[in-house]
Subunit: 219 residues, 2 copies
Amino acid sequence: MTTIDMEQKILDKNDRIAQENRKRLDENHVFVVNLLASPGAGKTSTILATVRQLRDMFNIAVIEGDLASNVDSITMKEAGIPAVQINTAGTCHLEADMLSRALDVLDLPNLDLIIIENVGNLVCTADFYLGEDAKVMILSVPEGDDKPLKYPGMFQVAEAVILNKMDTLPVFDFDVKAFEDEVDNLNPGAPIFHIAATKDDGVKEWTDWLTEKIEAVAE
Amino acid sequence: MTTIDMEQKILDKNDRIAQENRKRLDENHVFVVNLLASPGAGKTSTILATVRQLRDMFNIAVIEGDLASNVDSITMKEAGIPAVQINTAGTCHLEADMLSRALDVLDLPNLDLIIIENVGNLVCTADFYLGEDAKVMILSVPEGDDKPLKYPGMFQVAEAVILNKMDTLPVFDFDVKAFEDEVDNLNPGAPIFHIAATKDDGVKEWTDWLTEKIEAVAE
């Protein structure tokens, strides 16, 4: 009689590769944040603002995920940031093997932080673990305060939530209190940072949180 | 010897059901528009503005697709519009069988126009034919003018493109000419309507286009 005394968790292909990514990142003490948001929520602007705050403290690289085009990686390179473009050729989210190939071309031993800009999508990106340390969700004020009700999964998987384009609050009917209450319902205790990325407003609170995480991994 | 002299196009399950939907809609002379957009681009506001323009001319119903919640169908019903809510339970797009079930509860013989609000998503929704007459893509100014480069598929499948939140143009760095040129590259000749849905600005040009389509089907 054979006794199976240990649960053999069957990892699918994505999760196996994600674990390999995780191992490489651990070995190199690199912190990886996977940014999730709608198209146009300001992922690229948030990355640029984050890098402006942290580039004197840490070595940073950016991985840009898009269906097509390389406009974002060009923007990053113009800002002097090492950047890898992943074109998913129609796939609505990044997968672990795409990250794996991006890690191949980065100088991991000399990096402290990798920021992944996932495909703009409030649904599919939440489901894929890439091996990252944290998913962070960005919502922008113009999108409306009801988005946690409509896209709860994204807000549940995020370690932190960034509310971007706060400078446009006077132009839009956005109830910050209602938004924050609903995020707290879905993900109790997750920090919510208010920023206007293009103006560097409020970014330091977010990067202070991130700095703690990066330093914990670097030790 | 058997000769297969006709290509047997194998329709997958979605497309078979979409064809059944199509047949029911044809029989009832109902025009169906499937609205695609990012989360927060203003699909709901655009529907409300469209209904304000057309409700005296046509009998209209709305089908609301969301991962979760019924906030949009409540909004529609408060505006006196027959509305069916479809919760996709995590699926990032509507599928033909979901539309089929929604059609079951609508009074098709007495309808002229059904507006479908798809799940907010600039990727997956483009790939699924539901049996609709036309897909229409809404982009909003705050999302940025580079979206056709990053999400080309959506702009290619759309019969028309609506650029919403035009009233916020002074607040955002959005190059209308560059946007329109790129849409025209992807989808030559597709009309592009400029609207501010919450203010009813520019909506008539869009609803005039839609009216022509509805009347062609009603004949």
